[in-house]
């Protein structure tokens, strides 16, 4: 087959089946007379069928030559059967490889998936008609259905189809019995792969066709190259980091989170999926009173982890309240809401934020440098989604580099660490596990949880109105 373009996605054989190339190489190896799978002659009814191989021999060969273990070899063998490179002689409709004495044969290259591009309906009709001629009523139920359907659709061609079927049938009769039986088996196997029985999927089914043909030549006009040039210039210019630094960071992340990964270290008290006991989820609920030690430890890994966990964020808010610097986090949250909010509410939100946080003398005025403040205020005249980005980043960095570390050293956090619980691991007996399985608890619908959260937020917003400093100071002075 000539290679038409150098843009080969391995798909010139068939769309989305670049694996066929390698499959074929393996099948050819398996048929090598000296190093391949050993075949024997088998007696089937009256005829003797040559080159029959057993399932266990196939599995053994794959295990040895591809350096894999038995399970994987069996899975690979099943693939060979599913794609039609090997077909079963007994139970021909089930395309799996049985690692026992079941009999298989190699399919002739004429019927390999790569050769016949599209298994045409015409060919299928001829095949079914031919079988009908040989023995009336030998077709299976699904085949009969297909036959009737094709008869209806191809009525205009039916004479041609019947003629072809008769021709092939007579040509077949001229062959020797053994050859005929073998050819029939091969043809039957081919059609099982390409027109599978009802309720089964064919391996030839690759899903949808791609909209854009990956093997087609892309028009390379001047703007195509211009775009590449512009992009590559930018790319060369961008700053990058040494591999040792960035890979080191990846490895560090893994080590930091190792104990928190339920696949690496069992979670306490137990993994709900394994023991059917959902205490783990109860103990780690978003609004739980006393969090677990693991959870509190996780807050110290990075500011992002702390903010991401609603319980952690709540704890951080308590700390900020004590420090009288809650406006920073409040501003950040409001900016997030603006960024991810619906387009319609944007100008209203922007105005609200301006009044509360940015206007001179605002009740929760945030302390950002003059330049950023200037740009933000100017941007707010024509508010768009990202108008607060600069200010938000500034405030976030401030919290991350300063407030976060003070929080970790604060009595609020230290107390939380002391209070945090460390659940003991479950030790269920077999009987208890069975019991658990029968009594899996359903949980509250997330819609209800969401509604409750929204109510809480509304209440908190109403209660924690902007703190009027003057009044507060006035009341303090009064008391003095």
């Amino acid at each position: 087959m000539t290679i038409r373009s150098d843009r080969d996605h391995g798909q010139r054989y068939r769309p989305r089946m670049s694996c066929l190339k390698k499959l074929e190489a393996t099948v050819v190896q398996m048929q090598d007379p000296s190093t391949g799978v050993k075949g024997t002659d088998q007696k089937l009814n009256v005829t003797v069928i040559p080159h029959v191989i057993t399932g266990q021999d196939i599995v053994a060969w794959i295990t040895k030559n591809m350096n894999v273990d038995n399970d994987e070899a069996q899975a690979f063998g099943t693939m060979l059967v599913a794609y039609g490179y090997i077909y079963p002689l007994q139970d021909h409709k089930k395309l799996v490889l049985r690692p026992d004495g079941s009999l298989y044969r190699f399919q002739t290259p004429y019927f390999w998936p790569v050769q016949k591009w599209n298994a045409e309906d015409t060919d299928y009709a001829i095949y079914l008609a031919k079988r009908n001629i040989r023995k009336k009523g030998v077709l299976d139920a699904y085949e009969q259905e297909e036959y009737n359907r094709l008869h209806k659709w191809m009525n205009h061609k039916w004479d041609f189809i019947v003629m072809q079927a008769k021709e092939q049938y007579h040509a077949g009769k001229a062959r020797q019995k053994a050859d005929r039986v073998v050819f029939d088996c091969q043809e039957r196997a081919y059609w099982i792969v390409h027109r599978p029985p009802a309720q089964t999927h064919s391996a030839m089914d690759y899903g949808l066709d791609r909209h854009i043909d990956p093997n087609a030549e892309e028009k390379k006009t001047y703007d195509y190259y211009r775009r590449i040039i512009i992009y590559t210039q930018q790319a060369v210019m961008r700053s990058r980091v040494k591999s040792s630094v960035s890979l080191g960071a990846l490895a560090k992340y893994i080590t930091t989170f190792k104990n928190h990964d339920p696949f690496l270290v069992p979670c306490l008290p137990s993994n709900p999926w394994q023991t059917d006991d959902d205490s783990y989820w109860e103990l780690n609920a978003p609004d739980v009173e006393i969090p677990t030690k693991m959870r509190v430890e996780r807050w110290s890994f990075s500011f992002y982890e702390l903010l991401n966990d609603p319980r952690g964020r709540a704890d951080f808010k308590i700390f900020l309240k004590k420090e009288f610097s809650g406006e920073n986090l409040a501003f950040w949250e409001a900016a997030e809401e603006l960024k991810w909010g619906t387009a319609a509410s944007m100008s209203e939100k922007a105005e609200q934020i301006f009044k509360t946080f940015l206007a001179p003398g605002a009740p929760r005025w945030i302390n950002i440098d003059g330049r950023t403040m200037g740009l933000t205020v100017k941007g707010l005249e024509h508010p768009h989604r990202y108008v607060l980005d600069a200010a938000q980043t500034h405030i976030f960095m401030l919290m991350k580099k300063d407030t976060f570390y003070r929080y970790l050293k604060s009595p609020v956090y230290k107390e939380m660490q002391k209070k945090a619980i460390s659940p003991a691991p479950h030790n269920f007996t077999e009987a208890q596990l069975q019991e658990n399985m029968r009594n899996r608890r359903p949980s509250i619908d997330p819609i209800i949880t969401w509604q409750k959260e929204q109510e809480e937020k509304a209440k908190a917003a109403a209660a924690a109105g902007p703190i009027d400093i003057k009044k507060l100071m006035a009341s303090k002075l009064d008391r003095k």
């Binding site: 690979f76 693939m79 854009i212 990956p214 960035s246 190792k258 997030e336």
Partner: protein, 400 residues
Amino acid sequence: MLMVEMCHVTFASTSEHHQLCRLEYRSRLIIKSTFIDISVIRLCFVKMACQGLAKGETIHTLKAESETLKGKLEEERAKLHDVELHQVAEKIEALGQFVMKTRRTLKGHGNKVLCMDWCRDKRRIVSSSQDGKVIVWDAYTTNKEHAVTMPCTWVMACAYAPSGCAVACGGLDNKCSVYPLSLDKNENLAAKKKSVAMHTNYLSSCSFTNSDMQILTSSGDGTCALWDVESGQLLQSFHGHSADVLSLNLAPSETGNTFVSGGCDKKANVWDMRSGQNVQSFETHESDINSVKYYPSGDAFATGSDDATCRLYDLRADREVAIYSKESIIFGASSVDFSLSGRLLFAGYNDYTINVWDVLKGTRVAILFGHENRVSTVRVSPDGTAFCSGSWDNTLRIWA
């Protein structure tokens, strides 16, 4: 992250802006952050690219220039490449034996399962299939909670909203629709359906951003797009792939401003959501990229492809750092996901198996059997306690 700087002067018109751009482009492209309307910048690039051939330029000179630049880029990347991933991995201890079993099998779809997503409550999932059905399950009890029948077949994309109150799905209808979920089991969810995204070809993947109000979609027409759910307005579109885009994933970083997409043109592109710019691009795969997923820290991402390999790309070092492949694996990887710590990479393949890779050492730690047809989707639960796999054998399995 790449952003483009313009001067601190506000521009009155696009053409003035463009002029300044050209000046910068000729000398050097400076890269810093800006606070003005950024979509103008993209317009600028497009305009620059589409300028007719200047004096003395031909297709061949342009092609030669682009080749030299690509060579220069590779040089720059290689300069900082001082260590391989497996060398860094030597200091890390090896993993023990894994016992991962199917803990739940969810049966109920009538045809191939194409996509699934977890709810943030860590136990509910939404799944979509070829026959047009979208089902919301409580995977823990295996109960079906909601079911929607889409008006099209091949629902290739589905996503659960962060609030847990809605699901989004789409496929051959070229649209992405949002269905608000209801507490009333008898209510017909299709009545309140909201059509959000409109593409010119099939929808391959969709994802909510940090809230229920925005959706990011990718399509067979080669583009990705960001939409406002309430109004259905297109907020930003992302052009750069030269073939179908099959998958996208949002960055888990605190800034949350970028996402990665993978397509049939063998490229994985990183995009800035604000400007619509393609920030980074990687083209080392040999075939279609079926799936992209960020590393939990947001500094790297993994891809699964039809060339039977999964690869890890480091964003800060700007290069491919690992290939996960084996001689005996010759079928394409359809879907990948990381475990919570990023140490394990779960990949579903077209040979009905799921392979689990050690991300650092590059070796395979386990192979999972059980599905009777292609594994089409693999996703780890939000708290990392289990992962779910959906397959063309009409079932979903939860493994832990």
